[in-house]
Amino acid sequence: MNRAHVIILAAAAWLVSAPATGASYRKSNQAKEREQLIAKLSSDINKVDHSIDVTKDLIKRSPDAPYLADLVFRLAELYVERSRYVYARLMEQRPEGQQVLEGEKALEVQISKRLAIETYERILKEYPEFDRNDQVRFFRAHEYRELGEFEEMLKAYQELIEKHPRSDWAIEARLILGDHHFDKGEINAAEKFYEGVLQLPESHLHDMARYKLGWIRINQEKFADSLKLFEAAVISERKKKRGAIGDARSLDVKREAMLASVWPFSEVKKPYQAAGYYRKLAESKSIYLAALKKLADRYFVKTEYPSSALLYREIVPLSADVEENIEYVQRIYESVRNMSKRNPARYANAAGDVDAIVTTVARFQNAYKYSDEEKKKLRHDLEVRARDLATQLHAEAQRKKDAKKAQVAAEAYRQYLSLFTDAEQYPEIQLNRASALNEAESYLEAGRQYERIALKLEDGPKRREMLYDAIAAYHRSLDEDTVYRRKHPTKPGLLNKLELLRGREGLKQLGAYYVKTWPKDKNVPAVKFNVATMYYQQGHYEKASELFTAYVEEYPTSKDASTAGNLALDALNKMDDLERLAKQAAAFAQNTKIADAGFRKQAEEIAKAARKRNVEMTVIDTTEGDFSERMLSEWEKHKDSAEGEDFLYTAFVKYKNEANVAGVYDFGGRMIGAYPESPRLVDVFGTMGAFAVRAADFERAAFMFEEYSRRFPQEANANQLLTSAGSIRLMLGEYDKAAEAYRRLRKGGNATERMTAHEKLMEVYREARDWEALARVAQTALQDNNNWLGAAFHLGLAYLEQGKQELAQRELARAAQLQARTDFDQQASGRLNFELGRLLHTQYDEIVFRDVASSQQVLSFKLQYLEAMEQSYIGAISSGDGFWGIPALHGLARAYQEFGKFIAGAPIPDGMSRAERTQYQNALKQEGQQYEGKARQTLEACQQKARELKVFNAYATACLAGSISAVDAATTRSRSRLEAGEGYKRELAALRDQLVKKPEATSLMIDIARKAVSVGDYHLALLTLSKAAETDPRSPVIQNLLGVTHWHLGDHQSAFGALQKASRAKLPEGAANLGALYQEFGYAEEADAALGSVEGGRINLSSPDVHPRVRVAMSERGRS
């Protein structure tokens, strides 16, 4: 029944609201339909009448039935139903234009209702316990309401509420009563009933009660309560119970409550809360939009423009209604324009607003129901508004230098440009956008915008300007990114990969075009620099290097030249192209046009370092077997450049570190030959010399040291090495070369070095018995220091040996008066007295008796000489230097002997008798015998002292042999010039190679020494063994060989010292050699003892460890 009722009402409503326009067909159709409806209603009335009859009959026939009340209730409902059908039919049958029923027609309806009321009252009376009496009362009240009998209605509803307070029907009754009072403006009465509903358990009518109560609160200006009630009505669960009777049934309470809430919301909450608030409440987009629209309109009406704009902005993107949206975007614009000029956010939403305008216009353009004229007009109007919004914001951003606003303005421009492509101001807005992007520091986008503008222009100043601006913007964008990345290396940059690529490629392409088109433009250098930078940043180092190099060559005085130069070099470095890096750096260093001297200096350093690294890398890349060959090949390639030297030197250093003698000599030699001025020769000569020493290749070592000092005299160790060279030469017996070295030292050295040079030179010439040279050297030394004992002695010695006795005597005598200050002086002073004695001895020997008359005078003269000579010899003896003490003793013995003979042979004065003559002769003989006796005693002392001191020279031998004759002790020491075969040289080289690698290996030194002794190369042996003895001074083998070598060289005293050590260590060869030495010098007992301790079979007489004299000594011993 209810459903039918709704349909009828809906149909009626449709009929009423149908537009009048619409053709006659529809009209006739309506009439027909109406007839059909009336017929159907008539049929329904008949059916209901029949049902009433049937029900009445049933009631009559069932007086005691328990469902009788139900039947009566059914009857009442049938009356109600009938009244409605009748009402409907009457309404359909009324004439057109008549709105209400009058007179009799209304009466028919009222009769049915009255019957119904009577029937309901019968039930209440006859069946007071009927369980549906609440419903009966509700229906009865309702019928009163239908009849317009409101007083009865109020009583009936009130009775229902009293009798059935918690019944659902009582809830609805309260609602109806509330509405009744509400409609009459009796707010307090209405409020009581609505609140009564809400106090009951939740029902389908509660939302309505809340809704109504919400309005009451608005009237009471209790907006917060009102909003709560509306909100509660919206969010409460929907009840699926039947709807209420009457208007409440056709009302979507929740939607209405939502819309009604707009009022209190605007009073209680903030506009910006609206979107979130209603989005949460609304069940659908349409309800949400309806609420927002209502609210926005309310704000707009209230001239709260920021709030209305805020909500319209929310609505436009969601709304599908183009027409409405046009209104809304205009309202947005008006809101913005009407906002206070002081409002800082006035144009803050320009981008979104322009977007809204653009989107709306675009949709409007496609709407079929508008004419082209309308569209054109609207497009124009909105273009003006969009442009105004964007430019106003941009102007504000410029005024305030606000980058964020500029960014929004740029976005607004972008929106504008996306639609209004035909606008007259389009190019201007393009430029504005580029400018805004620049101001917003969105340089990449700015660059792209400038580029887009330039693309549409012809070549000319405007295009050039745009392109340059684009290039500058791209550059700035990339630069900022680079700076950021450098500062935050672990974070992503400001630009993503695509943006980086866009920026770089953009700059490269535009730059290339710029340079190509306007090569003489003032900005070209900057453009070129930036283009090159792009290649560098993209890792295209080959191209980057080419461009930066070209930049430096083209703009050598530019402030960026040094940066460009550095980047050019760095690009080559990044490519690991060290060879080109070295060349380019050297080219920069030599380019005098480059203004930045610091950069050129730096380039020079880089060139050096690159060359070095290039060589090092070549070394690393070269296999061991190919190393030498590769280095030489690289050297050949770069012979004329510093790089060539680097290759040789690197190879040299490698071999030096590996102690590879051949490699060091090979590459060192090449270095010396190819780069004689190279400062690296300091290392080369020093190293080669040191290697030569280590390899016992002393001649080469001396050469290297000499060359070193000759080429690098300023080096701190130059004179030290020269001294070493002289010493080596001296030990090698190369006196000329030794002298040359010392002469150079004397010339270039300091005072101490000069003194050493003097000493060594004197030693050299003394050993070489070059008396003339010795005299010159000694004289030179005396010029430096006239009180130098050693020099004076050597000058005296030189004179003496030259036969310049007077000079000799003068110098020796002067020397004898001087103080010994050094070891050299000390050594000299021992010999000095002996030599002086020897000189006097020569003169003494020349004093002979001539005649009787002068005999006394001669005797006295000779005696004076004897005394002087005695004094000198005694001086030598008491000097403690046994080597010269023994000759002095021997000389003294000889002098006494001679003096004895001299006296004995004195002429006898004339006029003496025979007896007197005999007596005189006896007296002389006696006197002579005394001296001869003294001579024998001295000789014995000499023998004793020789044995004691073990002196090995001719004087000692003479003393030991009891010989008092003059001794020729002159010996010349010089290196024997041997002619060794190739085999010896090869063996020596092999041993030296090993020795360099194991410089402490004494066994190798011993091997070298033995080979040297075998071929008579005693000086080499001596030097090698001296080196070995430094390493292992206790080795008997080394000492033995040293002794043998000294012996070969004629230094018997040194030989004894070494052999004695070897013998004491029980080395058979040592004992044998010592024995033979003893035997050679006349120490018979010692020789017996030493040789006796050696069994013949235990030593190899052919060994270089055994002196050839051993064989002789052994055989002599065997014979004896």
Binding site: A512, Y513, K528
Partner: protein, 221 residues
């Protein structure tokens, strides 16, 4: 160029019979403890390095092909510029554009010569790969011999050493030939650069400038 076929023929002759003559069966190594096999890693690494280098050359070839296509496009653009300039009675500009087209033509020549060189380098690199492989086999042979595993008697280290020497000799010769031909490519490059410099001078630093070299096509599309 004349040298590449020569080299190819030579390489083909040398490598006839393809593959290493002497190899060590991996099964011989199975009984050798891992710590002794460490010596093989270096040799295996060498093979990987040589092969990586070969791949690198392949990539360079691909890049170079793109460069050639780009240069050809630039040549076409320059020619089109010339035609347009003539149509607009800009004789000077037309002459410059023609000159630019020629220069790009020379650039194409140079890039093609480089492409040829790279292809040859690829062939030569293959010989280096063979050397590395031969060394790996030698290392395996030495390992087998040193550990005297079952089957070691069949491995003759001297033959492996000889094999390495043969391949090294071959690679050296190939490298020498390559070095010689590098000079020829340099000559072609020099010709192109000289022409480019002339163009650079004629255009006053525009056309022919190294800056305009790789990006002169902006605005043409």
């Amino acid at each position: 160029m004349s040298w590449r076929p020569m080299l190819l023929v030579w390489l083909a002759a040398c490598l006839s019979g393809c593959g290493l003559r002497h190899t060590v069966d991996r099964s011989l190594l199975s009984e050798i403890a891992m710590e002794y096999k460490l010596t093989l890693f270096d040799a295996e690494n060498e093979v990987s390095i040589a092969m990586d280098e070969r791949d690198h050359i392949v990539r360079q070839i691909q890049e170079l092909k793109r460069d050639i296509a780009e240069a050809e496009r630039q040549q076409e653009d320059a020619s089109a510029d010339g035609v347009r300039a003539r149509r607009n009675n800009q004789a000077e500009k037309a002459a410059l554009a023609d000159q630019a087209a020629e220069v790009f033509g020379l650039k194409v020549d140079y890039l093609e010569a480089r492409l040829d060189l790279l292809r040859t380098r690829l062939d030569v690199q293959s010989t280096f790969v063979d050397v590395a492989r031969a060394k790996l086999e030698l290392a395996k042979a030495q390992l087998v011999e040193r550990n005297n595993v079952r089957g070691a008697e069949s491995v003759n280290v001297a033959k492996f050493e000889q094999q390495v020497e043969d391949y090294v000799g071959r690679a050296k010769k190939a490298q020498e030939m390559l070095n010689r031909v590098q000079g020829e490519v340099d000559e072609v490059k020099a010709t192109w650069l000289a022409a480019r410099e002339k163009l650079n001078q004629a255009s006053g630093g525009g056309w022919g400038s190294p800056w305009a070299e790789d990006g002169g096509v902006w605005g043409t599309e």
